[in-house]
């Protein structure tokens, strides 16, 4: 089973021609039904492989010795009853700390690196643990150093299921950059799936809590280069409202779409740059995408874990940027979609009709 080519590797290879085509012609794949199995393992029990039985192969550029070290990390996680996402976070962290090598000398010995107080750094082993983590023997023992990491992680980050993997690792390691481990998530998923010979349901492309692979679906882009922000129907149109009792007028500044209901896909209407991500004073989770040309779109009501992009990210039309939620002024999961032109909020249905998209 471990001879199987890791699933992630196959996916990446298969994706390459698509990337090229996608860059040239902006082709977006049509969404499809999800696999019932996909994602179900992610929160479930851990996986393992006997470290002495790791095949002599390379996965994601990591050689046999590194894979054996990863197997030891997996085993420690399994012994602590952790799930496969936690185990993968362990492998990702060791990649970011030691490139999955059991380094037996500190940065002090090689580079004269000192701690801020001037003392010699003593970081060794897979997780580059300093003296405070335990004896030298323990920190160089593959199983016990991994146990120490996982025990610290479970104690320091109990809410980790709702956090990005790199943030979990950062809060455990107290390293210098919260996002340091992000590039190691994809190879970590490939290694754990390659070694376990199983589809974990983890999404190699994104470790975001809401990014289970069965739920990320690209939208459909029309010949004008635009996409619907979410599936219909329209549950509440744009326009003025008069309160039935108080008579007070309020403005509904967007078009409400069912958008697949809770956790359904929300798509960027057009290519652009994510210019804000967060919650307004009324608690509405909001993502804003700036498309240039004086046009911005806003997407409201997702939960924090349903926001799949960050400020500065470049998104493509039809890219899934969020999972539909119900934060703030919302009584049920839906997407409140807004279009802003030259600073003015406008009727999204009327604007989108101009670019050939019928909302709902």
């Amino acid at each position: 089973m471990a001879d199987d080519k890791p699933k992630g590797g196959i996916l990446v290879t298969a994706a390459v021609p698509l990337i090229v085509i996608g860059m040239v012609f902006s082709i977006i794949l049509v969404g499809s039904s999800s696999s019932a199995a996909c994602g179900t393992v992610a929160g479930g029990s851990g996986v393992s492989i006997d470290p002495s039985k790791v095949p002599d192969t390379t996965i994601a550029g990591y050689d046999h010795e590194q894979l054996v070290n990863a197997a030891n990390v997996m085993q420690a996680g399994k012994d602590l009853g952790l799930n496969v996402r936690d185990q993968t976070i362990g492998i990702m962290t060791a990649m970011g700390e030691s490139s999955l090598r059991n380094i037996d000398y500190g940065d002090w010995e090689t580079g004269g690196i000192t701690n801020p107080d001037g003392s010699a750094t003593t970081s060794i082993g897979l997780f580059q643990q300093q003296d405070g983590w335990g004896t030298r023997e323990d920190r160089l023992n593959l199983h016990s150093t991994s146990m120490k990491f996982f025990q610290a992680m479970t104690a320091k980050v109990p809410e980790r299921e709702n956090l990005e993997p790199t943030i979990v690792a950062h809060r455990t390691q107290a390293n210098a950059d919260p996002y340091h481990y992000t590039p190691f998530w994809e190879p970590a998923v490939q290694i754990i799936e390659g070694l376990a010979g199983a589809d974990t349901g983890l999404n190699p492309g994104s470790g975001a809590p809401g990014a289970g692979c069965d739920t990320l679906v690209p939208g459909q882009v029309n010949p004008n280069g635009w996409a619907a922000p979410g599936a219909g129907p329209i549950t509440d149109p744009y326009g003025m409202r008069q309160h039935p009792i108080t008579g007070e007028y309020k403005m509904h500044t967007g078009t409400d779409l069912a958008a697949g209901g809770c956790d359904g896909p929300t798509w960027a209407a057009q290519a652009g740059v994510v210019s804000s991500r967060g919650f307004d004073s009324a608690g509405n989770g909001t993502i804003t995408v700036d498309h240039g040309g004086g046009v911005q779109t806003k997407y409201l009501h997702m939960f924090d874990s349903g926001m799949l992009v960050n400020v500065g990210d470049k998104v493509t039309a039809g890219q899934q940027i969020a999972k539909t939620g119900s934060s703030g002024q919302s009584t049920g999961c839906h997407l409140h979609f807004m279009v802003i032109v030259n600073g003015e909020t406008v009727d999204p249905a009327a604007y989108m009709a101009e670019v050939g998209i019928t909302l709902g």
Binding site: L18, I167, N203, N222, S276, G293, G294, D313, E354
Partner: protein, 181 residues
């Protein structure tokens, strides 16, 4: 370089995700394509029913007013460079205890960065001094900037954003010099 990397990652992620579902019954079906890029209609927003100024927004509870459009003028460019220098000066203080460091840094961060940097140990920060002016390296959006700034520990890269043309620039990310963690 950074720009390209980020864009490529997004595309890789997208392609990988779309490949994530079973391949048996859902072969990739390209949609009709245009080779000329997206079409932006030249519409006058006043013809698309903008809300009257001062009306209450039902979702935010705030009074509606048109947003101040952000543009890249000299003032904006100078403003983001100044914001980077302020932020890096506050950030590059490994000598400070966390509480004192955070009191100076947090107000300069956006919401997500305020969550993500709240567990930093400032002692791990390698930079202590700016050694030159910030340089804008990505201004694709007038609301977002990537700015590189040289320090005694190498070049940091910051991502900042503003919610409108008059709002303050807030930091969403400090990217460390190559090889530093």
């Amino acid at each position: 370089m950074r720009k390209i990397g980020t864009a490529a990652l997004v595309i890789v992620a997208l392609a990988t995700l779309s490949a994530c579902t079973p391949s048996s019954d859902d072969e990739a079906t390209p949609t009709p394509v245009s080779t000329s890029g997206p079409i932006f209609p030249s519409v006058d927003p006043s013809t698309l029913n903008p809300p009257p100024t001062g009306v209450v927004d039902a979702d935010t509870g705030e009074l509606y007013a048109p947003q101040i459009v952000a543009v890249w003028d000299d003032e904006s460019r100078a403003g983001v460079i100044a914001a980077v220098e302020t932020a890096m000066t506050a950030y590059a203080r490994p000598d400070l205890p966390f509480d004192q460091w955070w009191a100076a840094v947090q107000p300069l961060l956006d919401q997500k960065a305020s969550q993500d940097y709240a567990y930093m140990d400032p002692a791990r920060i390698v930079a202590t001094q700016l050694t030159g002016k910030g340089v804008i390296v990505d201004d694709t959006s007038a609301y977002v900037a990537t700015v590189e700034v040289p320090t005694n520990a190498g070049t940091y890269s910051l991502i900042l954003s503003r919610v409108d043309g008059k709002a303050p620039w807030l930091v969403s990310r400090f990217t460390l010099p190559e090889g530093v963690n």
